[in-house]
């Protein structure tokens, strides 16, 4: 305490501490942060403007002028359907699995096992999607053929499994499963983070009532983590909707609009369709592909906004 005698020089003390005005470091920091935030907005706007400008011709030209002789809506609808179907199926498979993995890691596994398993799950996210595609077509696809035949036989009355089961495994079913594996790490990471933050006093409160571990999880951990599971799911959906390589490789697409997951004829997805057709397109066909990209952009935007709305309502309601 060398400098100031606080009892006598209070005024000088305050003036010295603030340095008279805001410190340079503070200003540099706040300007940099603001600039970063503005850049994000500009990028987002730039992408949207590009999509709208380049995609516009697809909306203004008549069906006869467009490649394939279909209106743009007729062209994009089956693709959008396939995109949403693949992503939804992936989420339905991945979310329960991811929640179970997150619960196991945070509340059941011994610490060392939990740590290792956590790393391994995160590692799933580091595998490039082209590898997933190759694995899907060479390993999972053939392996899934008997499963799909069984589904057709036993559960054929459900439209999803109407069949006839594909003999190659290049189906929506397999593509969805691969997407599920791909989004598992992100959903599970988000859930894990929040599950592990469940206040200890709540967990102990449940256990002091005589709750078993599962009952404690149901009473405290799951309600506490609910909104994070929803936002994790939406993040995963966002990835699954836009995933290109794996789907492009695996799916044998015929453009059919069908809920049948296991047959030879499947709807394609927007992203896979762009990847497949772009190299051979020119002129107006390119504009059409970009316009389908705009539709994909809109779908992911709506998904994210829905997630925010759900979370906001939860936070308000409880």
């Amino acid at each position: 305490m060398p400098q100031v005698d606080t009892t006598t020089n209070a005024g000088q003390l305050l003036a010295a501490a603030s340095g008279g005005r805001r410190r340079v470091g503070d200003r540099v920091f706040s300007n940099t942060a603001t600039a970063a935030a503005v850049t994000i907005l500009a990028l987002l706007a730039g992408v949207a403007i590009f999509l709208i400008a380049k995609g516009m011709p697809a909306f203004t030209h008549s069906a006869s002028e467009l490649p394939g002789g279909k209106t743009f809506i007729d062209y994009v609808a089956p693709l959008a359907f396939g995109t949403v179907l693949a992503a939804s199926f992936a989420a339905i498979v991945a979310v329960p699995l991811a929640v179970a993995v997150a619960l196991f890691i945070t509340h059941i596994a011994p610490p060392r096992v939990a740590l290792t398993l956590g790393y391994l799950v995160d590692l799933l996210a580091a595998i490039p999607s082209i590898i997933y595609g190759l694995w899907g077509i060479f390993v999972l696809g053939p392996a899934a053929v008997p499963v799909m035949q069984w589904l057709e036989e036993k559960l054929g009355f459900i439209p999803f499994f109407a069949g006839p089961a594909s003999a190659t495994g290049r189906t929506m079913f397999v593509a969805g499963l691969v997407l599920a594996v791909m989004i598992l790490p992100i959903v599970s990471a988000v859930a894990r983070e929040v599950f592990s933050q469940t206040p200890r006093k709540l967990q102990e409160g449940a256990q002091a009532l005589g709750a078993t571990r599962w009952e404690m999880i149901r009473m405290t951990v799951l309600p506490f983590g609910k909104s994070s599971v929803i936002s994790g799911t939406m993040l995963g959906l966002g990835r699954a909707l836009g995933e290109t390589m794996a789907v492009t490789i695996i799916l044998s697409a015929s453009g059919a609009v069908t809920f049948n997951l296991i047959s030879q004829s499947n709807p394609s997805t927007i992203a896979a369709n762009i990847a497949l057709d772009f190299p051979e397109s020119s002129g107006l066909a390119v504009n059409v592909l970009i316009a389908t990209g705009l539709v994909l952009f809109a779908i992911t935007l709506v998904t994210n906004m829905a997630a925010r709305a759900i979370i906001a309502r939860q936070n308000r309601g409880e």
Binding site: P111, L202, Q207, A208, A211, T212, T220, P223, E318
Partner: protein, 297 residues
Amino acid sequence: MLGAADKKRSAVESGSEKVAETATATAPGDLAQAPMAAKAKTIEARNVNLYYGAFHAVENVTLTIAPNKVTALIGSSGCGKTTFLRSLNRMHELTPGATVEGEITLDGEDMYASGVDPVRVRRLVGMVFQAPNPFPTMSIYDNVASGLNLNATRIKKAQKDEVVERSLRGANLWDEVKDRLDKPGLSLSGGQQQRLCIARATAVEPEVLLMDEPCSALDPVATLAIEDLIGELKSRYTIAIVTHNMQQAARASDLTAFFNLEESGKPGRLVEVGETETIFTNPTQKATEDYVTGRFG
């Protein structure tokens, strides 16, 4: 009772008998004074040593928590009284690395015997915590009822309503919340939340109630309300309460156990236990006298 599978529902069954009894009682004030004395159970700890990993937290405690009495555990911070309290319903072992040596019995039955399910022990020996911890996503009603549906127990709505009302009345909270049972538990004040937690703990009809500094987060008015409540609850339960508040121990307890540790890093020990009045006026140990008169700790 602890191990026998066919008695697994005994707490709930005796709970329903009690509902039948109280249904015939007229004045709600009678509930707290209802003749339940026969039900309260004794906890006996013999040569109990508690560890966190290699750290020896509590050494060689032998103590009886007497039925229908309030036993206060006092002592300076870190002397192991909360740790000891948590060993009485097997909450201690939930901390990773925590272990227990010695014997703790509930009415003669060893809580730590190999066939005993800790979940069952915690059902019989309830706990109220330092900070109120109502479940944030649940309403007032659901908080009180939260222990009733555990372990695959199903009870009828009408019966649940009765248990909730009886528990809230027992916790002196009913009149304040009866018109808003569907509101979140967190909408209550701190003192009300703590009484809600007491109602939640008593709704499952435990034999013993453990309280870990239940008033430390509350203002003096709320504290007094909880102390009054403790005085009423002892007619039905065996109660052990950890407190840092000397006046509270003197006001609310019948028996007082003084814990101390010789120096930091050494395990905590039970120095002396006796009638609260004796401990506060005429203790046998110098350390006790120093502590209760505020000369240290």
